[in-house]
């Protein structure tokens, strides 16, 4: 492994969240009955005239700006010709030599190191339809069914430079790209739903070599995890071949998630011949600099900047700041909570530990949970005032997460108020001391740790509601007097 350098470039398709399709007024919304979100334009019937959706141009330009690209002054659409049943016109409207944006970059962070990854180009195009294979398995079916609802849904394709050097870097790049698209609000960027798709070009070369090795293109990467796994597999496969004196074949391979391998998609290898030419139905685009400046001025604070701010101004650890800013919704939740309760560390800890734990356990996005910044801020104030202990707060938090109830209501309903009354706690401490002579002896014999067990017993007796500070104080007082 050490003597090879890995070279990876990613091609990412992002579905834009416009109301209507790129060249017609059909809805882009998911879940319609097959072939009900179509019209003569997206079906490619003769005599129709596609017209570009203004929002698509705006979103693509915003995406280009957020990725530090140069926005073209002159851009156009081209026809990419190929026969496939999911493409009703037998060509896809895309952009060939004059894409809307070129020569950008984004910065990724891997192992505490920042690295700049070049973006070759970003262009607009239309999505294709969906093929449904009939029969139980692909091989047993002898026909395919086509649903054209997705045909003409706007996409941007973002092509990176071959600057990525590991599967981990590729994943970091994709995560950053996703976060940026989310922040500028041009896409839902959900890999599971296909609004973010990724193909990887992978090759290896001897360390120090300037020439690129033969690359393979890996497709069907449906999650961040599969991006990383598939690339790792492909690197290992290529190294094996080279080590055994073989040659890498330039080909497209598909990732099999269940088997954890990539497979050759060798079709009748008629080399792609797309015969691009300018689409005569669509007029060229002349992009005014004023408009571009206007869009640039309207961009929100992007994740990298936000992360810097949380580290520098809020004193958060780099890792925590990275996680919180990796999702726009999470960052907004944090911002809102600290605006109500400016204890940055506490807010960040509750998000990093409890919130992410619950979200991951149920595989939810923060927007799916019922918890609100108002709720969390209020709960943190209750801890600060000593109304509830940090331990009880975890229970309250989980309840807020599931029901969205006010923390005060939860505490009242469940009788979770912290007991700080020394008289009340004192009685229980006495009981615990009387019931655990062994631990008391241990403590007396100098085993400081024994006190932890006794504190635990008091907490158990009070169902976690005793103020731990008071418990500790009373126990120590009473034990030393014994």
């Amino acid at each position: 492994m050490g003597q090879y350098e890995v070279v990876i470039g990613l091609e990412v398709h992002v579905e834009l969240k416009t109301k209507t399709k790129i060249f017609c007024g059909c809805p882009t919304e998911f879940g319609g009955e097959p072939n009900t979100h179509v019209c003569p334009i997206c079906l490619g019937l003769p005599g129709v005239l596609p017209v570009l959706n203004k929002k698509v141009l705006e979103f693509a330009t915003k995406a280009g700006l957020a990725l530090n690209c140069k926005i073209a002054e002159f851009s156009k659409f081209d026809r990419k010709n190929y026969f496939y049943p999911d493409l009703p016109k037998a060509y896809q409207i895309s952009q060939y030599d004059l894409p809307i944006a070129e020569q950008g970059y984004l910065d990724i962070n891997v192992n505490g190191q920042t690295k700049r990854i070049g973006i070759t180009r970003l262009h607009m195009e239309e999505d294709a339809g969906k093929l449904v294979h009939q029969g139980l398995t692909i091989s047993s079916s002898n026909s395919s069914l086509v649903d054209y609802n997705r045909t003409g849904v706007p996409l941007i394709e973002i092509v990176s430079e071959p600057d990525l050097r590991s599967a981990e870097e590729a994943k970091a790049y994709l995560e950053m790209l996703k976060a940026i698209m989310e922040y500028i609000d041009v896409s839902d960027v959900k890999m599971e739903q296909g609004s973010l798709r990724c193909d990887a070009n992978v090759s290896i070369r001897p360390m120090g070599s300037k020439e690129f090795g033969t690359k393979t293109e890996v497709k069907n990467l449906n999650s961040f995890r599969s991006v990383q796994r598939a690339i790792e597999y492909e690197i290992a496969r290529q190294i094996d071949i080279v080590e055994e004196g073989g040659k890498i074949i330039q080909e497209t391979r598909t990732w099999d998630e269940n088997k954890g391998i990539t497979l050759s998609l060798r079709s009748k290898e008629e080399a792609h011949d797309y015969r691009y030419f300018p689409d005569p139905d669509l007029t060229p685009l002349v992009i005014s600099r004023e408009w571009v400046e206007e869009l640039k001025a309207g961009l929100p604070e992007l994740p990298a900047f936000k992360k810097e701010r949380l580290i520098k101004e809020h004193g958060l650890p780099e890792y925590d700041a990275g996680v919180i800013t990796s999702s726009r919704a999470l960052a907004e939740f944090y911002d809102k909570t600290v605006s109500l309760h400016p204890d940055y560390k506490a807010v960040s800890n509750w998000i990093m530990v409890e919130l992410l734990k619950l979200l991951n356990a149920e595989n939810l996005e923060i927007t799916d949970s019922k918890i609100t910044p108002q709720g969390l801020a209020k709960m943190l104030k209750m801890i600060e005032k000593g109304t509830i202990s940090g331990k009880i707060a975890k229970q309250v938090f989980e309840e807020m997460f599931n029901t969205g109830k006010d923390p005060e209501v939860i505490v009242k309903e469940k009788g979770l108020v912290q007991i700080s009354d020394e008289g009340q706690i004192s009685t229980i401490v006495d009981q615990v001391i009387a019931n655990n002579p062994k631990s008391v002896q241990d403590f007396k014999a100098g085993k400081e740790k024994a006190i932890g067990f006794l504190v635990g017993q008091v907490m158990k007796e009070t169902r976690g509601q005793a103020n731990p500070g008071v418990v500790n104080k009373l126990l120590k007082e009473k034990l030393t007097k014994l």
Binding site: E33, L57, L145, D147
Partner: protein
Amino acid sequence: MKISIKDVEHVALLSRLELTEEEKQEQLRELNKILDYMEILNKVDTSQVEPLAHVLPLQNVLREDELRATLPKEKVLQNAPEEDEGMFKVPKIV
């Protein structure tokens, strides 16, 4: 610029056309004739001319992101060679 019978076969495949030997020869003659015309155009010095992106002096023709009526499903499927479950049925493609 002359093309060969191989080029004719390639273009025919891309266009999903099945040609007989005779038709291939005929296409070869026809296509070469067209390319001969192109040769005449190639004599014009275009080194200072921007490639044409559109034949009309139009630019930035855009529409608002507004919904318009979709086609009723019966009409959508009217041209389908075969239909099943509201979808176009085509030979299996992998």
